[in-house]
């Protein structure tokens, strides 16, 4: 058994914490996991990515091209930046949110021609050429609903936990969340997890197999 999850996002979105939580749950339950983490520089707003590999049959910290079963994009544009890693017809969990890099805004302001931002429907139409198993997650909305806007990463973990191919029990993930996040945010993170999980059941499980 092996499962490859590629996680892309923007510095400051909590990719590292998300990785820790899953890894910690694996360590506790005897599941092999290897990750290759690319933090970028220690600033916010840069591109950040994690290659996550779960199962007995994985060796390299990097996912071979075309072998990711799942792509998580905590920021919409970032899903395309690493698309070659995703299997054809792989599963994409994509944040509705786009964080436009300053260079994109500067081009619009400085150009005499009318340029538009790269938009979510452009991302989706391109993704559709690779796979049709796409779930758009309004993670910021769900995070706000949980009471903490910084729980977008936990919302995605909740989504992930609903998938049948993801081998870690939600109770174990919740235990890891409780251990890893600051004490006063535990409750909000657990709520964000549940909201994410429910969202997956509502919007993704019609297309791909989910846990019962």
């Amino acid at each position: 058994m092996s499962l490859n999850v590629f996680i892309g996002g923007v510095g400051g979105q909590g990719l590292v914490l998300l990785t820790r939580v899953i890894g910690d749950a694996c360590a506790r339950t005897g599941i092999k996991i290897i990750t290759g983490e690319m933090y970028g520089l220690s600033q916010r707003s840069g591109a950040v990515s994690v290659h996550m590999r779960i199962g007995d049959d994985v060796f390299s910290p990097l996912i071979p091209v075309g072998e990711a079963d799942i792509m998580i994009a905590l920021e919409a544009i970032e899903s395309l930046r690493y698309i070659e890693y995703l299997k054809k017809d792989g599963i994409v969990l994509i944040n509705k949110r786009i964080m436009h890099p300053p260079i994109e805004t500067s081009k619009i302001v400085d150009s005499k021609n009318k340029i538009e931002y790269f938009a979510l429907d452009q991302v989706l139409s391109r993704l559709n050429e690779w796979t049709s198993n796409i779930a758009i997650v309004d993670a910021l909305k769900l995070a706000k609903e949980s009471g903490n806007v910084r729980t977008e990463n936990t919302v995605f973990l909740g989504c992930l936990s609903a998938l049948k191919i993801f081998p870690i029990e939600d109770t174990q993930l919740k235990q890891s969340i409780t251990d890893a996040v600051p004490k006063k945010t535990v409750e909000m993170n657990l709520k964000a997890f549940d909201l994410g999980r429910q969202y997956a059941y509502d919007s993704l499980c019609t297309k791909v197999a989910c846990r019962k």
């Binding site: 290759g36 983490e37 933090y39 220690s42 916010r44 390299s60 910290p61 071979p64």
Partner: protein, 633 residues
Amino acid sequence: MVLKDVLTKEARPAFMLGNEAIVRGALEADVKLVAFYPGAPISEVLDTFSAALNEFDYQMEITSNEKVALEVCAGGAFSGVRSLTAMKSVGTNVASDMLFVLGYTGVRGGLVIVMADDPHAHSSQSEEDGRFFAPNSYIPMLEPASPQEAKEMTKRAFEISEKHRVPVIIRTVTRVNHQSGIVQLKDFVRQDFKKVDWKDLQEKYTTLGEIARQRKLQMLKRTQKLSEEFENSEFNFITKADSSIGIITSSVSYLHVLEALKILGLQNKVNILKLGTTFPLPKNLIQNFIKNLKKLVVVEELSPYLEKEVYILAKATNSNLKIFGKLSGTFSEAWEYTPDIVTTGIALVTDHKVPNYRALIAEAKKLKADLPDRYPTFCAGCPHRATFVALNKALKIQVSKGQNHYFANDIGCYSMWIYPPISRSDSSLCMGGGVGLANGLSHVLNERVVAIIGDSTFFHAGIPALVNAVHNGNKFTVFVLDNSVTAMTGQQFNPSTEFIAGGRKGKKVLIEDICKAIGIPFVEVVDSYDVKNNVEVFRRALAFDGLSVIVSRRECALYGDRVKRKHRIPIVPFYVDKSMCKRPYVCLRSFYCPAYELDKDRQPHISLELCDGCSVCSKLCPLNSIKRAGVKT
């Protein structure tokens, strides 16, 4: 970081970053003195030791540079105390003066030097191959592939160091430092830290002339002994197969090889020699491995370091051996390896079909057309952005007066000025290099030379170049961007911070005091956020007929946020009052804050989640349309 896994005395599996595993290994080995200058990809070694400092009994320093860190640890090891430092290999360049003499003198106690290379230059100025430090300094080297191995090697390195009275290098690459995996923790007992008496330990650590010549002979003998010992090291192992094809590999490339063999259906069908002791090499082991092979693939990143050694050994044992590596053109010396690169290479040598990577990558490339780049950029609230806005204005005024400029950047967050949309730097090279370069440029250029350096870099390697400028009467302008911490590597403390390792109280060293003490005639300190007033101060510094220094001071926004959270000081964001905004875009042009976005009708607005409340954009707006959220006017 899950600190509890590093701290626990329990023997159990834990999910750990390579860097955390190194710390855990050192703690299990009862390390007593550690010292570091931060740098990707080893910064988390420093961070983890700093976070654990109040739990265990060891001494720790965050030093002003890597050479000092090595010297601190050498002091410990001369006295028989187990010591560890970690540095990126470009930091080893700085420390190498000490490294080479330590090869000669050796040490009494365990001295472990973790040296991290960064193939692909993910966060470095070059793809330096630090392995060559080992043979050049006659210092033994171990190379782990995984976090588990990093922990085991760190422990063993102390024993090797003590047995052979020599420092030991643990050479990693980014994909080992920043690889996480399951690590088996061992329980451990730590002794209390005790000072020792030099009179009990006393021996000579000198090397010069005749002493150096004698030590060289001893050093060669030591290397011979190590080579013999490494023939039986647990870190070198062979996976045998019924095949005339073999692979020699080390470091993370070993893991890519295993992946490649799985992909090609060649698991257990090819012989593998995984080398963990890469200096001195176990020559007999290698010769025995290759003697009956027909084809050998050498899989290593960067230079053909192992490959060239194998060529020499094959000449004696198996001159018909076909060797595939970089010299054969199978692999490149450029950039890091990936499973697909290694799979492709091994497929070609073993006459297997190469998976369709090229087609997938080409197809993906089409989907990425016109995708906005996401270059590293200054965070919302970064004081450097404010300094550069004022500096740009000051430079423009000077240009209008006929003064042109050369812009010498340095290594730190401010390096990002080389990236679009700003892209303004004539050079950006190495730690402190900008100020050193300014000395030379000021002799030969008609333009005014402007050097930019950060607080940490100033203390690291900037001061000697500045003293040189004063002494020789060189005329240029230096901007020291003092944000109180070593921001780019994760906001570690440095001499410009009032804290030291473990968050303990330290003495803040004032940059302006040093500048004044060495006799710089123009030294002014400003608040980076005070953009309006800073333009004129900066302009005067540029126009000054002599050496001028500006210290632009304001703490790193990320560090500041942490301090604010700790003291429960709220971050109050700003918003654009659309009724007053006539869209001159002054807030955006040359400022480029990531908290800004445009609405569909090109109206700028500020993302409340991202705004750091620094207020700088509100000071730039000619229409006063940017206001603090919640504050009525």
